[in-house]
């Protein structure tokens, strides 16, 4: 795993200086024994040098003289050209330690005194001047033509050196020094030096895509994680400045596929999840996200205001040796634990129910729900009871809470936590959430923290990295849709204080969040309302080929890298009416038609997506066809759809709903069987006739009566008291 890797530290490769110095006796010996032994493989430069060595006659006695020639700092590099050759050779013949160290100094000094060189040069012969010029040129190359202070140049050069492999570094510098002296090949030398510099730049900055064959080999060999990390960085760099840094003839997709496989290896995700995440985030954000998943979120606790106050709790915990801080401006009950000398989940304060261990993100859905005192609230998937107890605390133990969970085992922790925190208004039951409106309905508020793939909490459960695939996501999305619909049906829209529902998941997948909510917006009379959370990112209204309802930007997304809490999604819905626009003939037709239009995928789940995809041009067409249909309307008796009834009954339905209908008009107007809808569309478009309006009114009344009867029959059983009260109240007011 790469979690401990610090990308800022780059380990130097190859043997260090010390290893050179501490050569054993055997190497010394080998020098004596095999004197003219050449290294196994000479580089091209090495070979050149070897040739030169044979050409030049040696004069070992004159070695020390040149150094005496110049007494100032420049003595290192300012040397009479003829002699220099010999010095270099000499140094080469010796153990190369001294050379190594000298070189470093050499370069720095060279650069430092770069400016003052002209003066010194006056003393020297012409050769030197030219030589210096050459060196200067090389430096200018480094600095890309911009004027730099000598110290900056020195730093730059040094940096470059460290980034170069020691071996090649050695060679290059040898070369340049060596060949400085040669009159004939002066021009060549300059060029060569430039070349080497250029090559070094290439090595560090130009990122090359490995060939396909190489990549296939990598699969077999175990790659160094560090190399992969470096490659990821380079790759991201190229991708973010693609037009400038790309390699000729390489497609973006090639880079992306390499990046994908690298990320998979480095962070050990499966290919599917990485691809999903790449769709979700920009590249730099993606790396941040993946890195954030490698570290744990801070431990947070929530004060149980039923039993204590935050200040008292903080004091008590500090006395136990806990280092803590308030969570943030947005929470009055949260505390962050930095470190603790005692186990934070077993202090007497914890056992006495003064606080609850709870992730910061788990506060959000309850804050969004903001249950009021005296309301009845349903928590559909309650385990382990953190959110349930938070709700009870906000309601100050009044009203009632139904805490449901499908898993009986997990309910034990709910029981424990509810009793520990002193919640007395809770009923705990063990139903499948999908049965819910049948068991009990008419809640003022419902919290649905849906079961999900857990892609937001990878830092908690790294198993998610590898064990999720497309089917898992779609399966949980399907379950979530079912749960959300039954949650919506459990809400009482007529509630004076409530009628709200909060949908949340700890997943960041669009399929499990926006898509699910969008589905519910289509299926039920609900609208999105602001969640009351002033931070977090807006939900997507469009994602790849999918288009969601524009109001989905009212939902909130939270990410580990940007908010330092688990990945989370929160959407708050307001229920507009209790009637369920059931799947009538109309919707079936709709579905059929959408299938026809988009040559749709067989899966039912993908329907909303295809619906949304309809091009705007169809509306134009529909406008053409409307007049015809209108005539048909007049002749036919209008078929009253439930939606019409709903619309009539519920005058509250305003902006977003209309928008929804307007959105629908593209397909509705195409169909001849749906006159009422067309009327609505007409109305919206402002060209409806009086006749139509009258008819509509009539139908509204009819519908209303029908609905009332239905209410009397059906809903009385579910929610006796309130309904009866309502009806009685209405009857009275009628009188």
């Amino acid at each position: 795993m790469g979690r401990k890797l610090d990308p800022s530290i780059r380990a130097k490769r190859g043997p260090g200086r010390k290893s050179r110095k501490q050569k054993g006796a055997e190497t010394e010996l080998s020098k004596f024994l095999v004197d003219d032994e050449v290294p196994k493989k000479l580089s091209s430069r090495g070979r050149k040098r070897a040739v030169k060595r044979t050409q030049v006659t040696k004069k070992p006695k004159q070695e020390e003289q040149p150094k005496k020639g110049f007494t100032d700092e420049n003595s290192e590099w300012l040397k009479p050209a003829q002699r220099k050759r010999k010095i270099e050779q000499c140094e080469e013949d010796e153990d190369s330690d001294s050379q190594w160290e000298e070189e470093d100094d050499d370069d720095v000094v060279k650069d430092l005194d770069h400016k003052g060189m002209a003066k010194d040069d006056d003393d020297d012969d012409d050769e030197e001047m030219v030589d210096d010029y050459g060196a200067e040129e090389g430096d200018e190359q480094d600095s890309d033509g911009e004027e730099l202070l000598p110290i900056e140049k020195a730093a730059r050069k040094q940096k470059k050196q460290t980034s170069m492999k020691p071996e090649s570094d050695d060679d290059d510098d040898d070369d340049s020094d060596e060949e400085e002296g040669k009159k004939d090949s002066k021009e060549d030398d300059d060029e060569e030096e430039e070349d080497t510099v250029q090559a070094n730049i290439d090595e560090t900055e130009q990122f090359k895509l490995p060939a396909a064959a190489d990549r296939a080999k990598e699969g077999l060999l175990l790659m160094d994680l560090q190399t992969i990390h470096q490659r990821i960085k380079d790759n991201v760099d190229v991708l973010s400045h693609f037009s400038e840094k790309r390699e000729e003839g390489k497609e973006r997709s090639e880079y992306l596929s390499l990046l994908r496989s690298d990320l998979c290896t480095y962070y050990s995700y499966n290919l599917f999840l990485i691809s999903k995440l790449m769709d979700l985030f920009s590249l730099s954000e993606l790396i941040d996200f993946l890195e954030a998943n490698e570290i744990h979120r801070p431990v947070t606790i929530r004060t149980n205001t039923l039993k204590t106050r935050r200040r008292d709790l903080a004091q008590a915990l500090i006395n136990r040796g806990v280092n803590l801080d308030p969570l943030g401006k947005w929470s009055k009950t949260g505390l962050v634990i930095y470190d603790s000398s005692v186990p934070i989940g077993a202090t007497p304060e914890y056992l006495a129910g003064q606080y609850m261990l709870q992730g910061a993100s788990s506060f959000l859905p309850v804050m969004a729900l903001s249950p009021q005192e005296g309301e009845s609230v349903l928590d559909m998937s309650a385990a382990p009871g953190g959110k349930t107890t938070y709700m009870a605390q906000l309601m100050r133990n009044t009203g009632m809470i139904v805490a449901n969970d499908a898993n009986a085992e997990r309910l034990k922790s709910v029981v424990g936590n509810i009793h520990r925190l002193g919640v007395t208004n809770a009923v705990i039951c063990n139903y499948d959430g999908r049965q819910f409106p049948k068991v009990m309905g008419g809640f003022d508020r419902v919290l649905l923290d849906a079961p999900c793939s857990g892609t937001g909490v990878i830092s908690k459960d790294p198993a998610v990295k590898t064990n999720k695939d497309e089917a898992d996501i779609l399966r949980s999305a399907h379950l979530q849709k079912e749960l959300l619909l039954s949650a919506i049906d459990s809400v009482n829209a007529d509630s004076s204080t409530g009628g709200y529902l909060v949908y949340s998941t700890c997943s960041i997948m669009v399929e499990e969040n926006e898509w699910v909510v969008d589905y519910a917006l289509k299926k039920r009379n609900v609208k999105l309302v602001p969640a009351g959370l002033d931070f977090g990112k807006e939900g997507f209204t469009r994602f790849k080929e999918r288009r969601f309802h524009p109001s989905l930007k009212l939902s909130r997304r939270f990410y580990p890298h940007s908010h330092n809490m688990d990945g989370f999604f929160v959407a708050k819905l307001k229920k507009l009416s209790n009637t369920i626009p059931t799947v009538a003939k109309e919707t079936e037709n709709e579905e059929e038609s959408t299938k026809m239009e988009t040559a749709a995928s067989p899966e039912q789940i993908q329907k909303p997506q295809s619906k949304e995809q309809k091009p705007a041009s169809t509306t134009a067409k529909s406008n053409m066809g409307k007049k015809q249909k209108l005539k048909q309307n007049k002749s036919e008796t209008p078929i009253i759809t439930k939606k019409a009834g709903v619309k009539a009954e519920n005058k509250k339905s305003d902006g977003p709903k209309k928008a929804k209908i307007a959105k629908l008009d593209g397909k509705t107007s195409k169909k001849v069987e749906k006159p009422v809808k067309k009327q609505k569309v007409k109305e919206l478009n402002g060209d409806s006739t009086k006749e139509v309006k009258e008819k509509k009114k009539g139908s509204q009344f009819e519908k209303k009566n029908k609905m009332k009867k239905k209410n009397l029959k059906k809903r009385i059983g579910k929610n006796k008291f309130k309904k009866l009260k309502n009806i009685l109240g209405e009857a009275e007011s009628d009188l």
Partner: protein
């Protein structure tokens, strides 16, 4: 879920009265609505009428817990108080015992309270009187039975037991599965 029989009510109230005496009636007559006891799965739950009504919607096999669990009726028809009842015992307790911070931990691990760990004790506590145990900062930790009278406690040696352990809040962790 059903109301308690007379016998069950009697045994339970007898048990409760050991800890809170005549304050039991404060549990029944509350200013904020009527409260009642119900038996479900041999457990006795204490809840308000409102929640009771709500809970009737839920079938017996799916109902896990309503309101607060006070304890359970054993197979020999005795009543055993659970730690979950502490929230209602502590405010009304007649006899209290405070433990020193050093032996808090020991008590929370399920041990009896020694004289050495005894911080304070209510005057006139008789032997075998039900007591509620507090930490020195007045956080209720559990309950038990006084092994000695207050007078005797003053004299006994430090290692002798002064309160027998019955339930402590450590059980929320130790026996989460059997709480209800």
């Amino acid at each position: 879920m059903r109301p308690l029989t007379d016998e069950e009510t009697k045994t339970m109230f007898e048990k409760l009265s050991k800890y809170i005496g005549e304050n039991i009636k404060l549990l029944i007559d509350r200013p904020d609505g009527t409260y009642c006891f119900r038996l479900h799965n041999d457990r006795v739950y204490y809840m308000s009428e409102k929640i009771l009504k709500l809970a009737t919607n839920i079938s017996r096999d799916k109902l896990v817990s309503v309101g607060t669990c006070f304890g359970k009726v054993t197979k020999t028809q005795k009543f055993r108080l659970h730690i979950t009842a502490l929230d209602f015992l502590a405010p009304y307790a007649k006899f209290k015992v405070w433990v020193k911070p050093g032996s808090e931990q020991s008590f929370l691990y399920g041990n009896h309270i020694m004289k050495s760990g005894l911080g304070r004790i209510t005057e006139n506590t008789s032997q075998y009187q039900g007591v509620v145990v507090y930490s020195m900062s007045d956080v209720p930790l559990g309950f038990g039975v006084a092994a000695k009278t207050t007078q005797e406690c003053r004299r006994v040696d430090p290692m002798s037991i002064v309160v027998f352990h019955q339930a402590d809040i450590g059980e929320y962790i130790r026996s989460e599965d059997t709480l209800t």
